[in-house]
């Protein structure tokens, strides 16, 4: 035990300890000059490093949006790749400021793990993928009795899988791995018949397989997987900033504010747009939140509105080509809805 102390001293001497204080995350973030954002170790469309090592995806972009709101600069963010096991401790211990890592919002995580989810950036559901070439004739998850199923351990996916097969009185053979790469490799090598994870993930993973065309995603969705960013409990101001960054992204889309037209929009006469973009005289919306009044302008300039973010990373502008579906705005038949910014 005493050597931990020596280690700490040594660490302090090495200058590698990120010094930080307690409650006011915003002050800490401003003091260090960037936001530390927890992301996945690599899931296409959500958070994955590209060839240059820059993190791309909805989850990564969300962190940039928060950075833009706080600093007016979307590049002031650093990413920490985390495994499923590490993600909650990393947030609890203050290693990261925001956890934006395709994490499902559940009551247990809100109450027992000390997290606060800020919203749902992606409505997902768990699905199944099979190799249609090897298994012709299978077109429903209900035909999967007796199959070997690849799944990542320690996720809600693993629990839903058990529930689904149990409630349908089917048998299966779980093949469980710690890391996504290992699940992918095992599925590709034919260790299991079925791959199960969030449906968006399946589309992303399909692209990385040896022969993507051979694999099909089955129609069933067996669970609700509301994915969203989370912050630590006990800091309402920071919670509000992250939450309203998400709502601002939605509001911008609703009002038609895009990366391209945001500067023109600043001259708009529409009172709602003026309120959102902080061009109303004597507005205090931004400063009350703890950021500057042109925070929404900064967000949209950095990553665009929610729709742009979606299409760029997982939608038509990406290799994944996922349709908006229930992730469309409420005005277009989806579930994405923002309380008014006023």
């Amino acid at each position: 035990m005493k050597h931990i102390a020596i280690g700490i001293l040594g660490a302090a001497a090495l200058g590698l300890v990120a010094s930080a204080a307690s409650a006011a995350t915003l002050d800490d973030v401003k003091a260090k000059g960037f936001i530390q954002c927890g992301v996945s170790t690599g899931l296409a469309g959500f958070s994955a490093p590209d060839d240059k090592g820059d993190w791309q995806g909805i989850d990564a972009d969300f962190c940039r949006a928060v950075a833009a709101a706080v600093f007016g600069d979307g590049t002031k963010v650093k990413f920490t790749p985390l495994s499923a096991k590490e993600r909650f401790t990393a947030l609890q211990s203050g290693e990261i400021d925001v956890l934006s890592r395709n994490t499902t919002w559940t009551i247990n995580r809100d109450t027992a793990l000390g997290l606060n989810f800020v919203g749902i950036t992606y409505y997902d559901g768990q699905g199944f993928m099979i190799n249609a070439k090897k298994l012709p004739g299978v077109n429903s998850a209900l035909q999967l009795s007796g199959a070997a199923v690849c799944v990542q351990s320690g996720t809600t996916t693993e629990l839903n899988l058990a529930d689904y097969f149990k409630s349908n009185k089917m048998e299966y053979n779980p093949v469980v791995f710690e890391k996504l790469e290992e699940v992918n490799a095992a599925y590709d090598a034919g260790r299991c018949d079925v791959y199960t994870t969030d449906q968006s993930g399946l589309y992303g993973i399909r692209l990385t397989l040896g022969a993507p065309a051979d694999h099909v995603v089955l129609p069933e969705i067996i669970s609700k997987e509301p994915l969203g960013p989370a912050v630590r409990q006990g800091d309402d101001q920071w919670y509000h900033i992250v939450k309203w960054t998400y709502f601002a992204l939605l509001q911008a889309e609703e009002l038609g504010i895009t990366k391209a037209n945001v500067d023109e929009m600043k001259n708009s006469d529409n009172p709602e747009i003026k309120r959102v973009l902080g061009t109303e005289p004597d507005t205090k919306i931004g400063t009350d939140l703890g950021v500057s009044n042109d925070w929404v302008v900064n967000i949209v300039k950095a990553v665009g509105n929610y729709g742009e973010m979606f299409e760029r990373n997982v939608g038509s502008g990406s290799p994944l080509k996922i349709a908006r579906g229930i992730n469309a705005l409420w005005t277009k038949g989806g579930l994405q809805y923002s309380p008014p910014i006023r």
Partner: protein
């Protein structure tokens, strides 16, 4: 004069005859070493079959059929898999290793800054080699430079942030760089801790002794992976709110504490091998405890256990591969991470990558074990009775 009585005295010696034909040449060697008895012959046949089964396949896979150059997966996939190789082709995809070599060595360390780890490596080798060769003089100066100056220089170069060097965060480090840094820093930190623990275990103070025994036996009884889990998930909860450690540093602490326990046992072996007269002699000279240990016992004991230290180091070097389980990217971690690159997804990719990683690990470990054997022999002579 009686010389004439001798019936025969040989004046010139007969020339030594060469051994009979049956006892020399290839035939005799084979008879002696391969087919000495029926059982031996059977064993030889089994051996030949084994070698014949493995070796040609291995050579053709690794050398003859291997694909050495290429830019993407098509070079290593058969026609059926959408590549250019004939169907049924099986060869190593060294093109993959070639393309990813930079990553395997440095991880995501910025390309413009890679001269820094390279420079550190050159300095390291330049200082280490003379230290290892017994004949080279000025060991003292060399050791001071190696243990005192090099760590500071290496730290400044690798981390940066001063003297106009851009700061490179540890999450960007990877590959062999991480493997080597972890194991060398780990050994450097664990050796002094290990010495203190070993002295504590042989101490006459009951509480100190008990604490050291508990620490050493606990750590030696649990797998490294639990220590690493502890460092990665539990340590943050032990610290005051908001104080966080760099993940790399946490792994480093875990590895060092783990190695320290093993090091302590190696050092203890050395301490026990020092004759009691040495301790008593030091006492009779009126030396204090630390003088006795520092001037008389430890110099002798540490010299004795150099092979043991090197062996512990080999173990630790291999064990660093475990950090890939807590999602850090050491050599093995980076190699495995690159298997999921869709650009290189072929059946041969994983095998080639693993063989490459195995080769690198093997080279280091084999080299070190040979050195350890060399020192063992060298030290052995002086202690032989």
């Amino acid at each position: 004069m009686q010389e004439h009585d001798l019936s025969f005295v040989r004046v010139e010696m007969a020339l030594a005859q060469s051994a009979p034909a049956s006892e020399r040449g290839l035939g005799a060697w084979i008879r002696k070493n391969l087919i000495a008895s029926t059982g031996d012959t059977i064993l030889t046949i089994i051996g030949i079959v084994l070698v014949a089964m493995i070796l040609p396949q291995l050579i053709s896979w690794a050398l003859i059929n291997a694909q050495w150059t290429g830019t993407d997966r098509t070079f290593c996939a058969t026609v059926a898999q959408g590549g250019i190789q004939p169907d049924g082709w099986s060869g190593a995809c060294w093109a993959f290793v070639n393309a990813k070599f930079g990553q395997f060595m440095f991880g995501r360390y910025p390309i413009d800054e890679r001269w820094r780890p390279i420079l550190v490596a050159i300095l390291f080798v330049a200082l280490l080699v003379p230290l290892l060769i017994p004949k080279v003089p000025r060991k003292g100066l060399n050791a001071i430079l190696f243990f005192g100056a090099l760590p500071i220089v290496a730290f400044i170069l690798l981390v940066g942030g001063v003297f106009g060097l851009p700061h490179v965060e540890t999450p960007l480090w990877g590959g062999l760089l991480v493997t080597l840094t972890l194991s060398f820093v780990g050994i450097a930190v664990s050796l002094p801790i290990g010495i203190v623990l070993a002295l504590g275990r042989r101490s006459k103070m009951p509480i100190v002794k008990m604490l050291c025994v508990i620490f050493i036996e606990t750590v030696r009884g649990i797998p490294l992976i639990t220590v690493l889990f502890m460092a990665s998930v539990m340590l943050p909860l032990f610290l005051p709110a908001g104080v966080t450690f760099d993940k790399f540093l946490r792994a480093l602490i875990g590895v060092s504490l783990f190695a320290a326990a093993y090091m302590a046992e190696v050092v203890r072996g050395g301490l026990q091998a020092i004759p009691k007269g040495q301790y008593e002699g030091a006492d009779s000279l009126g030396l204090g405890y630390w003088q006795k240990m520092g001037l008389i016992v430890l110099p002798q004991a540490l010299k004795l256990v150099i092979p043991g230290i090197v062996n512990t180091f080999i173990g630790m070097f291999k064990d660093t591969s475990l950090v890939s389980i807590i999602s850090m990217f050491d050599l093995l971690g980076v190699v495995k991470q690159n298997f999921s690159d869709a650009n290189w997804a072929t059946p041969q990719t994983a095998r080639s990558g693993l063989v490459f990683a195995a080769f690198v690990f093997w080279m280091f470990c084999f080299g070190m074990s040979r050195y350890s054997m060399f020192t063992e022999r060298r030290l052995d002579t002086s202690y032989k009775r």
